[in-house]
Amino acid sequence: MQKIMKKLAAFIISIFVFPALSCAEDSVFTDMKKHLSYLNQRQALISKNIANADTPGYKTLDLAPIKSQKSPRGISLAGTSPMHITHHKAGNNFQTVRDGSPDTAINGNDVVLEEEMVKMSQTDMEYQKTLSLMRQMTSLVKVAIGDQ
């Protein structure tokens, strides 16, 4: 009896989970992947800013915040190859913007070390958050396929 109940639960969950994974172009994983990619690039930029805190003439860089894309209505084209045209924009190119403080040092450098540290810990926290969400999603899928 318990086994049947278990299988039934798995079946119900699979109905809810798999449409999200397959029909909606596994949008949950895609979005999370995009977010992780953004955070990774941001971390690289912040590291660059910190490393160049004493370089003359260096200007602070940051990534522009991610804009939420409106999900297209109706059925969208499936993109199974990078050559296919879908509503998703190809690649993970985020816009780099200048993010210096107004008080520039005498050598033309405008990096504020403290602000960069704050940005870095923000990025780190966001990253951990997204990763744990991803882990949750994975465990959901695991339940759905009966592999606990």
Partner: protein, 154 residues
């Protein structure tokens, strides 16, 4: 089932992290390298703050100046911070001390002393130390992010 699941995860997570996080670590490592080169120059300046010439009228030690610049790393093609050049300080004048018995004393009995100011060097050293620590912190964060991404495979 396990294989499919880990495959799904590998596809969805690995291309994301590897390149950018290793670039972050590379940038921080370059920063640390330049800061330690800077520290070396500062140490040389402090150590030589009393180095006078040995012959009459000879120049004493001239303060060294390090400049940093962004350069392309030939291995990865990324712009990283590197030592531009280590030059000498020709702007700050030497100070002089009256000491006629010194071997480097000129005709008037004055000995030229190095143009090293211990206050400037100490400030530079503190700044360098702070930057080094900041870079170290950045490496720690990048490494933790990387490790947590790997943990996703478990």
């Amino acid at each position: 089932m396990r294989i499919i699941l880990s495959l799904l995860l590998i596809i969805s997570s690995s291309p994301v992290s590897a390149r950018n996080l290793s670039e972050a670590i590379e940038q921080s490592a370059a920063g640390m390298k330049t800061q330690s080169a800077r520290m070396k120059v500062i140490a040389q300046n402090i150590a030589n703050s009393g180095s006078t010439g040995t012959t009459p009228g000879a120049e004493p030690y001239r303060r060294k100046i390090i400049t940093l610049k962004q350069k392309v790393d030939p291995e990865t093609g990324n712009m990283v911070v590197k030592v531009d050049r280590i030059g000498r300080d020709y702007r700050t004048p030497f100070s002089a001390k009256y000491d006629p018995n010194h071997p480097a004393a000129d005709n008037n009995g004055y000995v030229l002393l190095p143009n090293v100011s211990s206050t400037t060097e100490k400030l530079d050293m503190k700044e360098s130390e702070r930057s080094y620590e900041a870079n170290l912190g950045a490496i720690g964060t990048s490494k933790r992010m990387y490790m947590n991404t790997l943990d996703l495979l478990r």
